[in-house]
């Protein structure tokens, strides 16, 4: 039996990481061939994976802060 659409959204990371068994991979692909919705899900899932690393949650460090930390590190080196 082929995975359901719901199963497809459970397996997408394993599929992309190449961690599915040979037979499951085949079933996954067959489902993709037949299901436009799951193709769309997978395409957008991959898009998300490219997008997220570019989101940095960080504030810019202030110059002063950088110097302070850099000084501490430098002392540790000596």
């Amino acid at each position: 039996m082929l995975p359901s659409c719901r199963n497809m959204t459970e397996l997408s990371s394993e599929y992309l990481a190449g961690k599915l068994s040979w037979s499951m991979r085949l079933k996954f692909r067959l489902h993709l061939m037949m299901c436009i919705h799951c193709r769309r899900y997978l395409r957008q899932f991959q898009l998300m994976l490219r997008l997220t690393p570019q989101i940095s949650m960080d504030e810019e460090l202030e110059e002063k802060q950088i110097d302070l930390i850099a000084q501490k590190i430098k002392q540790a080196r000596q």
Partner: protein, 197 residues
Amino acid sequence: MADEKLLISRVLAGEEEAFSDLVKQYHNGMLRVASAIVGSADADDVVQDAWIKAIRALENFEGRATLKTWLTTIVANTAKSHAKKHSRWLALEDLKSDERDDLGLERFTPNGHWLNPLKVWDLGSPEAAACSEQMHQALVETLETLSHAQRMVFILHELNGMEVESICNILEITPSNARVLLHRARNKLYAAIEAMI
């Protein structure tokens, strides 16, 4: 990689500006990892410890991993020791929960078909989308809603580029558990992006 080598040799030579460059480039990423593991209140101390360890070990850096990955490993291990010392190393309890790995029950019919067609994303390039203030905000907020374990795995892998196998060693979980946590986090992020479209 060539830039990394150059930066390292400048630091080893004790060049003043090299230390600032190092901090500028990597400090935030280390802070992010420390916060995810020990919480933001202790993160600064942990990162400072990690920097000192890293700088003392820098001569032994062999370049098998990127400098970013190497620093991430050091800060994650430092954070773990810190959490353990203060008895705050959580067992990753949500692995035992019955949360599912799919995109969300309400999207599917009882036999697992899509209830409604998926929305089509029109983001332009990921690069452009990532720059949008709104998108940024939504993703940061979603990260806060992840379980502690999901957030740690997601940040280590997706934002700091660490391999799942290395994450397992740090978090003391199995590879399959790490992948489950990562996948649940990803589907939540997916839903968050979709909600913005």
